[in-house]
């Protein structure tokens, strides 16, 4: 899925900065909109899974590309 409404570059940042920034970015979106996140912290994979589970936002995809991790999160309606 390559459609998103906002993008967050969290490369070089360790937990909790990627999820903290994601939390803030998502609060600026409308329900149903998608945030794309790029991160380099390997711990961010588990972190975003937990984050989505706890906040009710949907983790559309989670993958790795060229040493970076990409996440697509859809804000709950």
């Amino acid at each position: 899925m390559s459609d998103f409404d906002a993008e967050l570059d969290a490369t070089g940042l360790n937990c909790p900065l990627p999820i903290l920034r994601a939390k803030k970015a998502i609060s600026g979106l409308q329900g149903g909109q998608t945030l794309k996140i790029i991160a380099t912290d390997p711990g961010s994979v588990k972190d975003f899974e937990a984050f989505c589970k706890q906040t009710g936002n949907e983790l559309l995809s989670s993958g790795e590309e060229g040493g970076k991790f990409m996440f697509m999160i859809k804000k709950a309606a």
Binding site: L13, C15, P16, L20, K24, G43
Partner: protein
């Protein structure tokens, strides 16, 4: 000799014994023979599970990294104020060391061991705090402060030193000089002092921000 343990259980018992030995004596102070004796197998059986002492040590670090403290709860459940998240993170970190003080011992041993795998591992754990502090202070500190960048970098170091020293006092020293102060109380007081030192005055830390174990 106990030869009948199933392989995964055997592997776990080796990891457990090795972790305790590395914690006590450091990487160079422990031999494969010693670990093998500790779990009551021959070295050749140990080598079936792990290629080398180095690989065994790295597996222990990876296991620690898998159990790595997660700051997700702190971010999701607390207010996202700089102070509240910092306190929450600190408490999560302290709890993870309290549950496995060998982690702290291995960290201290690794500082002198000169192994690049372990130093990178522990540096990465502290990077969560130093990144967070540097970004937070960069946003919050007045721009006309002289030596602003140096102050921000020094603040990260100060925080790390303070927390690590408190952990050493509380978990590694048999007669704790601060035994009347619980780790919880101590950590709250230290973070409050830190915040005053960097000019983020919070005379009263919200009780709601404290995540009780």
């Amino acid at each position: 000799m106990n030869q009948r343990m199933p392989a995964p259980q055997r592997r776990d018992s080796i990891l457990q014994a090795a972790q305790a030995l590395f914690a006590e004596k450091g990487f160079h102070g422990v031999s494969i023979d010693e670990i093998a004796r500790e779990v009551d197998v021959s070295p050749s059986i140990l080598y079936r599970h792990f290629e080398s002492k180095q690989q065994l040590y790295e597996t222990i670090l990876q296991q620690m990294s898998g159990k790595r403290e997660s700051y997700v709860d702190t971010v999701v459940n607390s207010s996202t104020s700089f102070e509240d998240v910092l306190i929450g993170m600190t408490q999560v970190y302290i709890k993870s060391v309290a549950e496995n003080p060998d982690m702290l011992r291995i960290e201290l041993q690794s500082l002198l061991d000169g192994s690049s795998a372990s130093s990178a591992f522990f540096k990465n754990r502290w990077k969560s705090f130093t990144d967070y502090i540097e970004f937070g202070l960069n946003e919050r500190m007045a721009y006309d402060i002289p030596n602003r960048e140096i102050t921000i970098m020094a603040a990260g170091l100060m925080f790390q030193g303070m927390v690590r020293e408190a952990l050493i006092q509380k978990f590694l020293q048999p007669h704790d000089r601060l035994e009347d102060l619980s780790m919880d109380e101590l950590s709250q007081e230290l973070v409050a002092l830190f915040l005053r030192a960097v000019g983020i005055n919070k005379s009263h830390i919200s009780r709601k921000a404290v995540i009780k174990s």
